[in-house]
């Protein structure tokens, strides 16, 4: 919104019986189905976020989520946890081939899974040493520090870089 001074107390949030977030603005207007969105999900995951209405208009800008009232923060964090999906790769167990498309068996912070790498270009270099890997189904897997992986994973990964 135009008003950047919307303070944390200028609105209220609650969850309705359909599991949707309901936003009550300072003037008492209710918006159902509000979506919290992180502004920098990769470079500053705990930083500022915005509440968007179901139509995609910004309702409130939250500069410091940590400074929010306890119950609001929990609601927003719960909603984010159920929406934010960027598994972090902890280990690459095996790859089906060094030529793409290649299927990788990986361990992530969300449990073991597999990803299909369509081509080497799907591995994006973020600010080093982070990498972002998009799999064939559009899921983005994050490697926070490729040098911090174990030797086996590094060796496999190196073949694609």
């Amino acid at each position: 919104m135009e008003n950047p001074n919307l303070t944390a107390t200028a609105f209220d949030l609650h969850r309705d019986s359909f599991g949707q977030l309901v936003f009550t603005a300072a003037d008492g207007v209710e918006h159902v189905g509000v979506v919290p969105v992180r502004a920098f999900p990769i470079s500053a995951p705990n930083g500022s976020l915005s509440l968007l209405s179901a139509e995609g208009h910004e309702l409130a800008w939250i500069d410091e989520p940590q400074a929010l009232r306890e119950d609001l923060r929990t609601l927003i964090e719960d909603e984010l946890a159920s929406r934010d999906f960027m598994p972090v790769i902890l280990r690459v167990n095996s790859v089906s081939s060094f030529a793409t498309p290649s299927t990788w068996e990986i361990d992530t912070d969300r449990g073991p899974t597999r990803l299909v790498l369509k081509s080497e270009e799907e591995i994006r270099r973020l600010a080093p040493p982070a990498l972002l890997i998009a799999d064939a189904h559009g899921i983005h897997f994050l490697i926070r520090d490729r040098y911090a992986l174990d030797a086996h994973s590094r060796k496999l990964l190196d073949r694609f870089l």
């Binding site: 309705d16 019986s17 359909f18 599991g19 189905g33 979506v35 969105v37 968007l52 209405s53 179901a54 139509e55 995609g56 946890a81 159920s82 929406r83 934010d84 999906f85 960027m86 598994p87 089906s96 081939s97 060094f98 030529a99 793409t100 498309p101 290649s102 299927t103 992530t108 969300r110 449990g111 073991p112 899974t113 299909v116 369509k118 081509s119 080497e120 270009e121 998009a134 064939a136 189904h137 559009g138 899921i139 983005h140 190196d158 073949r159 870089l161």
Partner: protein, 841 residues
């Protein structure tokens, strides 16, 4: 509003043999079914679909006509997910009272978005679900007011089950399961409707793919959507795959090989002749015997003849094989380019020009050099070594054994370095492509770079890419630089061993001096060959890496596959377009969802909406630059995916925002879509496109060169040439993608006349940012975030005061502000009626 693709007219029921649904109340719809118009309220970046659309399927007779089991068998996906097959079988066995399973969905995420398998099963009366840790099934009986809705956001789909009281359950899955989720929702809607009304819905109308719910194109067994998801990596023995290109030259290759055999044999004659020269001429002479002149002449003559024969054979072999390899390289290039042209736009969107250029140019050249030079040398070397070994053994087995002893060691060395070098070189290639890509990125954008004074930053970016190139090369060179000298060292050591063993043998009178000198002469060549053979490792790896990158292109199956058995276009071709429940995803962003649209032949449709609302995507789908992720597009009743590209696209005229002119004359550019067009046709098209006069004003008229390096033309002029190009092929379907957006209002007026000529009598889909340009459209279709939100003629939409009205209002206001800023007086205009409309009437 959406057009209803499945209305319920009485005549639709008749052909199915159920002229009347049982008399009584109309089938009760679940009261919570989402009214269609309310679907705008999805979350921003996400999209959703509810089952309610499927309720529009006509209902048919009560159960009994077909048993539930028969119905289910027709609609169930082929086999249950492997992880849950046992649980499903168990469940099936436990079902009572004729309860039948109608569908299932494997979910691969839990509510905290961790990877965990779960299953949802739909029967004719319940929805059951079980997570990885659950021991029991959770169940929800189907009751009125239930809703099953899917949404997706950032690669995660969610499926929520709710009733009028609130949310009952929420499941999460990755988009790999999205098509299956869509099918489950559809089934759920049909089952719920059947449960509530007691009537069985009609089975799905056509054969559908067992994996996703997309109808199979007629004449095809494989679903084009699913078959492209088979991810199989190409074999690593890529170089052998070059055989496909060598095959046509089998004869020449055989001749070359025989010549190689002969010439190698000829080069092995001279050392053999040193033996009699030493033993029968020189040593007897040292011992006092006179020189046998005749023998000397004979031996020297033999040496000369062997050298001459080796020279001429070597020349013939090199020439023939170089000729063949050059042709193989040329074929490879052409084939790759040819294949590249068949790939979908999606491929080109993901690849960068610099990288593709380097693959087709540099890599194929590298393979060519490899075949004509390196491989040839290597084959000669192998032959030479084998023949030498045979000769050495036939002279003296013991000495031969000692001579050949270092061979396994060198073989091991080569093998060891092989792997390291191979991916080292692959890395070098990739980094090299990165350097080229920086160039390809910045040089076209040089105006922006200069305007923002970011030259230093771009230089730094290039430097960085170059530094990475250097680092990778350094790493490869570290291995490589140790490798060569080691081979040389082992050669020297080998010679030393032969000398030592040979001298000892001579002292024991086991061999003659002649034999030793022949051995030394042979092994000099022998080890020299090994040294050059070791070089083959690097070039083979480089060529293999290059071949892999080329085969990466060749192996890439177009995501918009040409059908094997194309259905001919109906004649005469009218140009009716039906868009049915079309969805499209780009990466993990849903661009279009559930679009239904009917365009009659000859009608002009204006696509309106904010940027990013999916207008261009819809047009790309209609042109079949991409295939829809879901749903189908039919042209004159035929599925787009079952038409042949060439035949279909011949009927499509495309005018883009930035008209692209190829280097060539204006006449060639106009005739691009129909190279055989006569001069008269070209001029007629140019006249109709209002381009004739300005073309004649150019110094060389229709022969003026345009395009890169050619005559500079203004935006409006280029656009009129591209309109003439579209006119010349006389298409039935015309697509104007922001055709007038890049030009000012005055030029737009000039072009408009040309466009009016073009549009006449053709099915036209026009995208325009300026709403005034759509004044001739019969209907406007308003898209918002991938959905059709409004549809109708201008006046009707304005009267409705909906999304279009707001767009129009905003634009008129903007225009007025501009006018006011310019100091003009605006008299009260009725915003509800555009000025253009007045003019048109």
């Amino acid at each position: 509003m959406k057009t209803d693709p499945h209305p319920l007219p009485a005549e639709e029921d008749a052909p199915h043999g159920h002229p009347h649904a049982p008399i009584g109340e109309p089938p009760p719809l679940p009261d919570a079914a989402v009214p269609l118009g309310n679907q705008v309220d999805g979350p921003t970046v996400s999209s959703e679909e509810s089952f309610s659309d499927s309720l529009k399927h006509p209902l048919m007779a009560p159960p009994g006509a077909q048993t539930l089991a028969e119905l289910a068998a027709a609609e169930l996906p082929a086999s249950p997910p492997a992880a849950w097959a046992g649980a499903i079988a168990e469940l099936k066995a436990g079902l009572a009272g004729g309860e039948t399973i109608f569908g299932w969905l494997e979910t691969d995420l839990d509510e905290r978005l961790r990877f965990a398998s779960g299953i949802i099963v739909l029967t004719d009366r319940r929805l059951l679900a079980r997570g990885a840790d659950d021991s029991e099934w959770r169940q929800w009986p189907l009751v009125a007011g239930m809703k099953l809705v899917r949404r997706d956001h950032a690669g995660v789909g969610s499926l929520s089950l709710s009733d009028s009281g609130g949310l009952l359950m929420l499941w999460r899955y990755t988009l790999a399961e999205d098509a299956a989720a869509g099918r489950l929702i559809e089934q759920f809607g049909r089952r719920l409707a059947a449960r509530l009304s007691g009537l069985q819905p009609e089975p799905p109308e056509r054969a559908v793919c067992p994996h996703c719910k997309n109808p199979l194109p007629p004449g095809e067994d494989d679903c084009p959507q699913c078959s492209r998801e088979i991810h199989e990596a190409p074999s690593t023995w890529t170089l052998f795959r070059l055989w496909r290109f060598a095959k046509p030259y089998k004869g020449q290759l055989l001749a070359g090989f025989l010549l190689m055999l002969a010439s190698t044999a000829a080069t092995l004659v001279p050392p053999y002749l040193t033996m009699p020269l030493m033993d029968e001429v020189l040593i007897p002479f040292q011992n006092g015997a006179p020189i046998d002149t005749a023998k000397v002449y004979m031996l020297l003559g033999g040496l000369l003849v062997a050298a001459l024969v080796a020279w001429s054979l070597g020349w013939a072999k090199t020439y023939i094989l170089a000729l063949v390899s050059e042709r193989i390289g040329a074929d490879l290039r052409t084939t790759t380019y040819q294949h590249l042209q068949t790939l979908s736009l999606e491929y080109f969107g993901g690849k960068r020009t610099g990288d593709l250029m380097s693959r087709i140019g540099a890599e194929s050249d590298r393979i060519c050099v490899f075949l004509s030079l390196n491989l040839l040398d290597f084959a000669t070397d192998v032959l030479m070594i084998t023949m030498t070994a045979v000769i050495l053994f036939s002279i003296n087995p013991w000495l031969a054994l000692v001579t050949l002893a270092p061979l396994p060691f060198i073989g091991w060395l080569i093998h060891n370095v092989r792997d390291r070098l191979r991916y080292g070189f692959e890395q070098v290639d990739r980094v090299w492509a990165e350097v080229t890509s920086v160039l390809a990125d910045t040089i076209p954008g040089i105006r922006v770079v200069k305007a923002f004074a970011q030259e230093k930053r771009e230089v730094a970016r290039f430097k960085e890419a170059n530094a990475r190139n250097l680092a990778v090369n350094d790493r490869v060179n570290k291995v490589w630089s140790v490798f060569s000298p080691t081979v040389t060292l082992s050669t020297e050591v080998g010679l030393l061993v032969v000398w030592a063993f040979g001298i000892w043998q001579v002292s024991q009178s086991a061999i003659t001096v002649g034999v030793l000198s022949a051995f030394i002469a042979y092994i000099g060549r022998f080890y020299a060959r090994l040294d050059s053979m070791s070089r083959i490792v690097s070039v083979t790896q480089k060529a293999a890496a290059g071949a892999k990158r080329i085969f990466d292109i060749l192996d890439h199956v177009s995501s918009v596959p040409e059908t094997a058995n194309p259905v001919p276009l109906p004649q005469p071709f009218a140009g009716n377009i039906e868009v049915r429940k079309v969805g499209f995803r780009y990466g993990n962003r849903t661009v279009l969802r559930d679009v239904d649209l009917d365009i009659r032949a000859g009608e002009m449709i204006g696509l309106v909406g904010h940027s990013g609302s999916g207008k261009s995507t819809l047009v790309n789908l209609i042109c079949r630059f991409y295939d829809a992720s879901e749903g189908a597009i039919r042209i004159d009743g035929v599925d787009l995916r079952s038409l042949s590209f060439a035949e279909y696209r011949r009927h499509i005229g495309l005018v883009l925002q930035e008209p692209f002119l190829f280097f060539g004359t204006i006449a060639e550019n106009i005739a691009y879509g129909k190279p055989e067009a006569t001069r008269e046709e070209i001029i007629a098209a140019a006249r109709a496109a209002h381009a004739h006069e300005f073309i004649l004003r150019l110094p060389h008229g229709y022969d003026s060169l345009v395009g890169e390096r050619g005559q500079a033309l203004s935006g409006g002029e280029r656009q009129r040439i591209s309109i003439a190009r579209a006119l010349l092929i006389n298409p039935r379907i015309l697509i104007l993608d922001e055709a007038t957006s890049a030009v000012d209002t005055e030029t737009e007026l000039e072009i408009q006349g040309a466009l009016d000529n073009l549009i006449r009598g053709r099915t036209t889909i026009a995208i325009a940012h300026r709403l005034s340009t759509l004044r001739r459209a019969d209907r406007l279709v308003v898209l918002d975030r991938g959905r059709v939100v409004e549809e109708g003629p201008h006046d009707e939409l304005i009267a409705r005061e909906g999304a279009y009205f707001r767009l129009y209002e905003a634009q008129t206001k903007q225009l007025e502000e501009q006018v006011a800023e310019a100091g003009w007086v605006v008299t009260g205009t009725d915003r509800r009626r555009p000025a253009a409309k007045h003019a048109a009437e």
